[in-house]
Symmetry: D2
Amino acid sequence: MAIRIFITGGTFDKEYNELNGELFFKDTHMHDLLEMGRNKVPVAITTLMLIDSLEMTDKDREWIVHQCRQCAENKIVITHGTDTMAETAGVLAKNIKNKTIVLTGAMIPIKFGSSDGLFNIGGALAFVQSLQPGVYVAMNGRYFNWDNVRKNKDTGIFEESK
Amino acid sequence: MAIRIFITGGTFDKEYNELNGELFFKDTHMHDLLEMGRNKVPVAITTLMLIDSLEMTDKDREWIVHQCRQCAENKIVITHGTDTMAETAGVLAKNIKNKTIVLTGAMIPIKFGSSDGLFNIGGALAFVQSLQPGVYVAMNGRYFNWDNVRKNKDTGIFEESK
Amino acid sequence: MAIRIFITGGTFDKEYNELNGELFFKDTHMHDLLEMGRNKVPVAITTLMLIDSLEMTDKDREWIVHQCRQCAENKIVITHGTDTMAETAGVLAKNIKNKTIVLTGAMIPIKFGSSDGLFNIGGALAFVQSLQPGVYVAMNGRYFNWDNVRKNKDTGIFEESK
Amino acid sequence: MAIRIFITGGTFDKEYNELNGELFFKDTHMHDLLEMGRNKVPVAITTLMLIDSLEMTDKDREWIVHQCRQCAENKIVITHGTDTMAETAGVLAKNIKNKTIVLTGAMIPIKFGSSDGLFNIGGALAFVQSLQPGVYVAMNGRYFNWDNVRKNKDTGIFEESK
């Protein structure tokens, strides 16, 4: 069965607006990344929202939970802003069992030259295929259980929270 | 314990010689890739050789086996040319037990704009952390057991051989 | 004699701060660009300031005029934010005669993948070598006299103002 | 009137064939480059041939001369392999007067990350707009008269031949 990929936004998909110098969302770059990676794992990509994760509401997270629960696939990758990725992971873990869900994102927009996005999506797709059911964050080459992860705001690096 | 990364060459590390228009090896780009991916998994990188895998000899493969066996780490990623990656995987599997070894590479040199190398190394690092001991090939977002993989020469895609 | 290159900032040299998602200045990327372009025209690069051109003051422009006047070279390229590039060109034209001064910049930061910066600096260096003394803006592959140029705020394109 | 751009091939437009590891021609990348540069100079692009300049024959050069002579535009940019760029410039100069013709190319294919192609085309377009009628080579940020240029085979740098 295919792997479901849900897009929620975050730095991963931000673009530079050359008229006003601000970052904005237009569309996901997931298809381009998977093509660049010559990915042949069957995937089904759905864009749930394209927002900065600092602006993600409880309602948004309910929607993500709902989509993860109702989709046919039991292996799910979610792209997500890094600032509240751990929080969303917690909400998912409390509501969904028996599926392997891996959240990932990027520190640098994919559209910018030196993004970590391609590395991270390569890792997330691998982890979702090989880890036991559960909710995980995959960043910095590592995976973390949902209840033992935080983003270090000073360094931008994900680390154990316990 | 750190993950051992052995470099053997392949398209992954090829560069363009602007004086004669040929591809050549100078040094591995693994460090740059891991930096771009903001990798924080402890790794120890050793360049065993920098060769086209079509030119890899039995002697070279013995050397790779020897290095994999004698190193302290039991999780090993090997970068390798795609043409004989499956063959080297077979030699490793027959000689080494109790270690997780993941071979990966690239169809496009990392130094060229649209390489799959960053995606592949992200996947290989994830697979080596999460798969059981054994020898695997990680390409195209997928992983293959050493005894069930071949590169389709017409498409450049890795697939099951059975 | 060398061509003098004065750096003043602008989108050209902005970078993405991955900790707070904002754009900022660290250093000029001019040296990298000239190396990528295999430039062999003798140049002397001086960073006068690294600011957004919307924040450029009269005092800043006086400083640029002073530097252009006092430097030994009579061919000068200035990198500058696009929003007030035409204004600075006007100030320079009123104060400096007998030198060829070409202002250029970028709509997309050089550090991002798809910048126009390398194209623009290639053009600016060519124009400064071949145009008569005067003050010009070089953008969009074209050159404009200082008194007949404006940036169209709606399109981001430079055009004649008369 | 528009600037005519004639494409003849060279490293500029080479691509990497990931199935056999060789470089080949598919199509010109000129349109992508001009879009990236936000070029607004009217241009008319014609691909005359896509060949390695070491394989360019007298017949090919006749064809280029014919096209340059018969086209309506009197400002012409020609992309060309670097190895025999100076030779073609000489043939053009002996056959065409009253037009400004600028030959340029690249040391690294545009499709590879670190190409000088965007810088060179930015320069060539600027030189063709500002130089007197004649035949020139524009490389390394400089322009050379057709009768005083050669490529240094050891360094890959263009220099005066006298």
